[in-house]
């Protein structure tokens, strides 16, 4: 039996319906990604008990908590806007949810947690004096201090600057690894999800599209939506490449290779060859060029180390990295 399971939970709004089922194992780090409005945050609210589902059940450790009060669920949450309590100093915030009653031990524990999140000596600081990154680390310490069975993160890094985000996400993952806490982490940043998660759940229009580990999600997406949501790529009608085939073919730009000379398909039986591609654009991104090509009127994206000198090129892609998607 999985540690946490959401079974057929549904929540109807005026113009939006969320319906989701998924499960996670104890100690797992699951990210939920999806476009804005796909229901990621709503799903978290339902799990935390901030909102109640219309139907379905949520279990933790085999116990049904669907009707359990928000206070009794043992689920802590870290919010996008940090949500530190302005009426208390940093230390008090961390001690807020502690089960320990003894004052000295509470103090000892909060000092230890401050050290864990890299804020040693910040205990007496007024929370309004903290920077965004510091505030979110305090919020993280506060969540851990409550000894929850699961910590939910609702886009915790969205309000921070990009360099800080990278630093903080590694702190979050590090704490997860050392304490073995079960984490559900909502983000709209794919790179962030790839970097921190054991598995990734993709949502769209209130539904769970797929749950996979990061590499599989990127290399073997099972729909065009997931494919494009998790990175760049090219989709072409399948019949352009293979006779009598339905659906679309999909490949990532780094899998493709351009050739300025004409390639004959017969010479490359293990590749898919696209001839007579027109170069439309070449964007330099530092490590490489991202070429925008046009193949029979369809856009094709290819990564190249140099800018092609000709306006017409051929493209070859290993057949085993070409996906056929419905």
């Amino acid at each position: 039996m999985p540690f946490f399971e959401a079974k057929g939970i549904e929540k109807k709004y005026k113009d939006f319906t969320l319906s989701a089922s998924f499960s996670i194992e104890e100690g797992e780090f699951l990210s939920i990604i999806g476009p804005s409005g796909s229901g990621k945050s709503t799903l978290l609210s339902l799990i935390a008990g901030i909102e109640d589902p219309d139907s379905g059940t949520i279990t933790i450790g085999g116990k049904d908590i669907t009707k359990e009060r928000i206070q009794k669920r043992g689920i802590a949450m870290v919010f996008q806007d940090f949500s530190l309590f302005p009426s208390m100093n940093t230390e008090r915030n961390i001690q807020f949810g502690m089960k320990e009653k003894d004052r000295a031990k509470r103090k000892e524990l909060s000092d230890k947690l401050l050290e864990v999140v890299g804020l040693k000596g910040y205990g007496k600081r007024d929370v309004s004096s903290l920077s965004g990154g510091e505030a979110q680390r305090v919020a993280l310490a506060r969540a851990i201090a409550a000894e929850p069975r699961i910590i939910l993160f609702d886009e915790p890094l969205s309000a921070l600057d990009p360099p800080l985000r990278k630093h903080l996400r590694s702190i979050i993952r590090g704490i997860h690894d050392s304490l073995g806490i079960t984490v559900i982490y909502v983000t709209h940043d794919i790179e962030e999800a790839f970097a921190v998660s054991d598995r990734i759940l993709v949502m769209r229009d209130g539904r769970v599209i797929t749950v996979k580990d990061a590499e599989e999600l990127y290399r073997k997406p099972d729909s065009l939506f997931t494919a494009f949501f998790t990175g760049e790529g090219t989709a072409l009608p399948a019949h352009l490449a293979f006779e009598n085939m339905e659906g679309s073919i999909f490949f990532r730009p780094e899998e493709a290779e351009i050739a300025e000379d004409r390639l004959s398909p017969e010479m490359y039986p293990r590749h898919l060859v696209l001839e007579e591609c027109k170069v439309v654009s070449a964007d330099f991104s530092g490590p490489h060029y991202m070429l925008g090509l046009s193949y029979k009127g369809y856009p094709v994206l290819v990564e190249a180390s140099r800018k092609p000198r000709k306006a017409d090129v051929s493209v070859k892609i290993p057949k085993d990295s070409v996906l056929i998607l419905p």
Binding site: Q71, M88, R142
Partner: protein
């Protein structure tokens, strides 16, 4: 959408809502039953009487003119204050906020002392011009009513207009200039339409306020020809002792007031938008001169009547320095002034009780309406605004006499309680309106964070939400206290009993031409109002957290 734990807040608001409804509905019902005592004859008479419509048209006319003049006068001042920065800009804006809480009786008193036929202004002009007649016969006329209303409301229009004008980015105006539009055309075609909302809401606020104005019309009009609906209700109760016809007229006024409120409410919708202040230009050279001139003009209009009160408190009618009034206040006086200390204590006690209750009721109603996203609760709490305070006073006369006839209790305590109840009903809408923005500003995630960390709704309110509400509660306390301290209409209506507050005493002393005594008491009232205002406006360090 309802938020988690909203049931708790609703439950907490129930006593406050019930008390409010009780204190509002019972007096109104008693007015109803009195008006219909003779099978509706009194109502029919009021409706058929030409005089009713004469009163209505005069009431509307004076309110309309007062509001128009106040707002129109504020436009040039606001235009400058929302564009240029100079050292004393903030101070003047703060002072203009004072108009929201200054007791009207002080305006009445200040006008009598400054603009009166034997007032400081006319005396000075007489000496300067060497004439014996009154050079500026302002008082006891229609223009006196308008002037006093403008005096009281120009700062309000100025404060509201400047606040919203300061948040309008100038990009549209600049865009108009770049395509060759002149200053005047740009103002008329671009700026004015953008200000429409705030102009309208300032106008409506002032119009409604002047519609129910009482003390100013009563004293400064000084002529039955200048009767408004409210003063006529008062006259019918205290001069003609005709409670039935007063009730009928009160009901008519109530209906008109409710209608006006209903018509104007959509126009007063709070504008959503960025709260960003635009960057002000530093006033230099000619603009600095303009700043000095405008500020001087404003102070020249606003300061003398109030300053005159404090000066007059130390001088007799003939301009001789005397501490007579102060001796009178300190307990050695005869007549009205002998009751000063009692009135002062009564006012403070009533003010504190009213303010405490209104903050308690205001916070619980504001929290419940924020948590439940309720439209009903704000509506209920603004109900008392549909009735003028004189009408409210009339209702409480009936309540008091009802309790007397049915229970046989007649005591000072009962009168005191009815004054407190009347003040509370009048003050509560303002308290709810002051606290509600604070309640709505508490982020959901903050409360949710506390819930997920195991805190109950009640403890979350006490530990997390209430501290955030503190500055709003303090402001509401100061506002309520100041309004109660300055309340004269309902109190005067009710105090045929024996509760005498400071403003009522001042009102009576003006009636007895004891201006020095009134001025001395007025100085005390002014000092109190200023202290309360300072408490409400001050920003404690702890407030700056959100």
């Amino acid at each position: 959408m309802r938020k988690k734990g909203s049931g708790y807040y609703l439950l907490k608001a129930v006593p406050a809502v019930l008390l409010l409804l009780l204190l509002f509905i019972i007096p109104i019902l008693l007015i109803f039953s009195n008006a219909f005592q003779d099978g509706g004859k009194a109502i029919l008479e009021v409706l058929k009487d030409d005089y009713t419509y004469h009163l209505l048209s005069f009431t509307l006319r004076q309110a309309l003119i007062s509001a128009l003049v106040s707002v129109a006068l504020a436009i040039p001042f606001s235009a400058f204050f929302s564009k240029y920065a100079f050292p004393w800009r903030k101070a003047l804006l703060t002072v203009s906020q004072l108009a929201f809480t200054i007791p009207t009786i002080l305006v009445v008193l200040g006008f009598v002392i400054w603009y009166g036929n034997n007032g400081y202004l006319n005396n000075a002009l007489r000496t300067m011009l060497g004439v014996s007649y009154t050079p500026l016969p302002v008082l006891y006329s229609f223009s006196a009513i308008i002037l006093a209303h403008v005096y009281l409301n120009f700062p309000i229009a100025f404060a509201l207009l400047t606040a919203s004008w300061s948040t309008l980015p100038e990009t549209q105006e600049n865009a108009a200039y770049t395509v060759g539009s002149g200053r005047l055309r740009t103002f008329m075609r671009i700026t004015l339409p953008r200000l429409r909302g705030s102009l309208a809401s300032a106008f409506i606020l002032i119009f409604l306020f002047c519609f129910s104005s009482f003390a100013i019309v009563m004293v400064l009009g000084g002529n039955p020809a200048y009767s408004t609906l409210e003063t006529e209700i008062y006259r019918r109760v205290h001069v003609s002792a005709d409670l039935v016809s007063a009730s009928a007229l009160a009901l008519f006024t109530f209906a008109v007031n409710a209608l006006l409120l209903a018509i104007t409410t959509p126009g007063r919708k709070a504008r959503k938008g960025e709260r960003r202040e635009r960057t002000l230009k530093k006033a230099k050279g000619a603009k600095m001169l303009e700043a000095i001139v405008l500020s001087f003009l404003m102070l020249l209009f606003l300061v003398p009547p109030i300053a005159a009160i404090a000066i007059r408190a130390f001088y007799t009618k003939d301009g001789i320095f005397s501490l007579k009034a102060w001796e009178g206040i300190s307990g050695r006086g005869f007549g009205l002034i002998g009751g000063s200390i009692d009135a002062l204590i009564t006012s403070l006690v009533i003010g504190i009780i009213v303010a405490l209750l209104s903050v308690w009721m205001g916070s619980s109603i504001a929290m419940a309406s924020a948590k439940r996203n309720s439209r009903l609760l704000p509506f209920i709490s603004s109900l008392p605004m549909a009735s003028g305070s004189v009408t409210m006073g009339l209702g409480f006369i009936f309540v008091t006499s009802f309790i007397f006839t049915s229970l046989g209790i007649r005591s000072y305590c009962l009168s005191l309680l009815s004054v407190i109840a009347a003040h509370l009903v009048i003050v509560l809408p303002f308290s709810v309106r002051t606290i509600t923005p604070g309640a709505r500003m508490i982020p959901d995630s903050l409360s949710n964070a506390a819930y997920t960390l195991g805190r109950s709704t009640g403890r979350t309110y006490r530990e997390i939400e209430k501290p955030l509400l503190a500055p709003y509660r303090r402001k509401a306390f100061a506002f309520s206290f100041a309004l109660s301290l300055g309340e004269v209409n309902a109190t005067l209506m009710l105090s045929s009993g024996n509760v005498e507050t400071l403003p009522v005493l001042i009102y009576r002393m003006i009636g007895n031409y004891d201006y020095q005594g009134a001025a001395a008491l007025g100085t005390i009232l002014l000092a109190e109002a200023l202290i309360v205002f300072a408490v409400g406006e001050a920003r404690w360090r702890k407030d700056a957290v959100l």
